[in-house]
Symmetry: C2
């Protein structure tokens, strides 16, 4: 990656406790920005992580991220307890229940970027309060920056106005199917994609879980659409963070291209990489699988995925 | 299609009454075999329809099928009333409620094939009672025939033993997602595909509605899998018969190849054509859209679909 650009990834950094029908694990690395930054690190260098942790945050998680080229200068350390999420997945691995969320240090967090970080040309607003996403964006200084953002149902419900403002300032929105339908009030995905694009972002990716995703772009490009499947898995161990991984890999891939003037095919190729990287995340708890990807693992799976999807 | 083979399509021939959130239509051409035979007629010739109708069956529906090269020699005419289905779709066009089913002439129907029809090398067992599917199969005489079958939740519940027998005698099963999960008792699609193949058919296609389908084949071919999207539609007028259309177009395409020794890529190409043909069915009530496909309509949409799906 001779001209690879750095990526700035802001979002939550959490301690996760996860239960599935077959296993359980606690004190895991969690949070939208953790997954996204680690995933991005497979494509570009450096990746700057922005978030806040408490005084109880497991140092081994931070060390692992650093080993992957993720910098921690943008991570605030607060006196409180870390943001914690405890949840459980049931038989079909799509339904999940949140047993407990402790917002803790996230409550009063204000994003503050140093000069170097603020100048990053590729910016990821991973899932966090739209207020924090706006704070972060306002500090960004790169003239031709490309901004990718994720959101969730909670923000559509309680922070819709801020979210609408975020929408006017980003280049690509990642959102899941249910949220897209809820946000736009339509059940037709093609219409939902168009309505979301009308709010601001040039590109919208609607995630369909095990059924893949749809990329929407300007109508004059590739009929305005790319339909991506999901990499089929014989077993899903823990889908937590799959969407965040997708976002990070997509952003990291784009950054690796060396300029932010992306074509539809480049965004599409990023979506494909996001999809494949997310499939690895689902194969073990937390980031365990994507911490240990071998050189050829991603390339091999990309090739298999192409053979399974193209004709 | 110089060497195109004839196709035999058995199943229900119905009168449908359909209501959607925006419109309503009655006395429509319906039934699994009607859609499947019409769809097949775009690929091969002749298509022999097998089923039963009552003395009240609208003659214009039969005339339309004949104009498309569908023969009616295998259609029994009974003294009773025709099989009738009345249903309603709601806002998201995926949920539907059956208001009324009148089995009528289907109740006592026994399949009886003439010698010519029995010799057909490509056989479609569209959705009907597994008992009727077995009756039809027992009369088939072509030595290297390729048999495709569809089924539905009702038969999994009330005729499981017969369905299991059907499974041992077919080459390709088409089944929808919910039914596949119910039939195999697993929530993982990849596992469901493998479990269904273990029951007999070399190929299994699991339909995912608006999310497309997955083709499963022998593990040594293309990783055992092809993941097909659905053609994205801005509006779905009436999805009734989309699965039957898919099956008919797949069978018709295979028959057009001139021999029944199909490769994985040929089955895959049939799945793609089934997908695109089914998208036309969804654009109007009943078979209205696929009755009037122009020469280039299918080819043009196939090309757009490839551009939207491949990289």
């Amino acid at each position: 990656m001779p001209n690879a650009l750095p990526v700035l990834v802001g979002g939550s950094i959490a301690i996760d406790n996860v239960k599935t029908p077959s296993a359980e694990a606690n004190n895991l690395l969690g949070g939208s920005a953790s997954y996204a930054s680690l995933a991005a690190s497979y494509f570009t260098d450096p990746v700057h992580l922005v978030g806040v942790i408490g005084n109880d945050y497991p140092p081994e998680h931070l060390a692992m991220l650093q080993q992957h080229g993720v910098t921690l200068d943008g991570v605030d350390r607060s006196e409180g307890d870390s943001f914690t999420w405890s949840g459980e997945y049931f038989q079909n691995m799509n339904d999940r229940t949140t047993h407990h969320v402790a917002v803790n240090v996230l409550e009063d967090w204000k994003v503050s970027l140093g000069k170097d970080l603020a100048a990053c040309p590729v910016v990821v607003l991973a899932n966090m309060a739209p207020g924090n996403q706006l704070e972060m964006l306002e500090q960004c200084t790169a003239p031709n920056r490309f901004v990718l953002a994720d959101t969730m149902d909670l923000w559509i419900e309680i922070a819709r106005d801020s979210l609408e403002e975020v929408m006017t300032k980003i280049d690509l929105l990642l959102i899941n199917e249910t949220e897209a339908r809820e946000y736009t009030g339509t059940t037709n995905l093609v219409q939902a994609g168009a309505l979301l694009r009308a709010k601001g972002p040039r590109y919208v990716v609607i995630k369909l879980g095990e059924f893949g995703s749809v990329l929407f772009g300007p109508p004059e490009m590739n009929h305005g659409l790319f339909r991506c499947g999901a990499f089929p898995l014989h077993e899903v161990a823990d889908p937590t963070g799959a969407g965040d991984t997708f976002l990070g890999a997509l952003a990291g891939y784009l950054a690796s291209l060396g300029s932010t003037d992306y074509s539809f095919s480049q965004i599409r190729d990023g979506v494909i990489r996001g999809t494949v990287m997310a499939s690895f995340t689902c194969e073990n708890f937390s980031t365990r699988r994507i911490e240990n990807l071998g050189e050829g693992d991603l390339l091999r799976r990309l090739e298999i995925f192409r053979e399974m999807s193209c004709w």
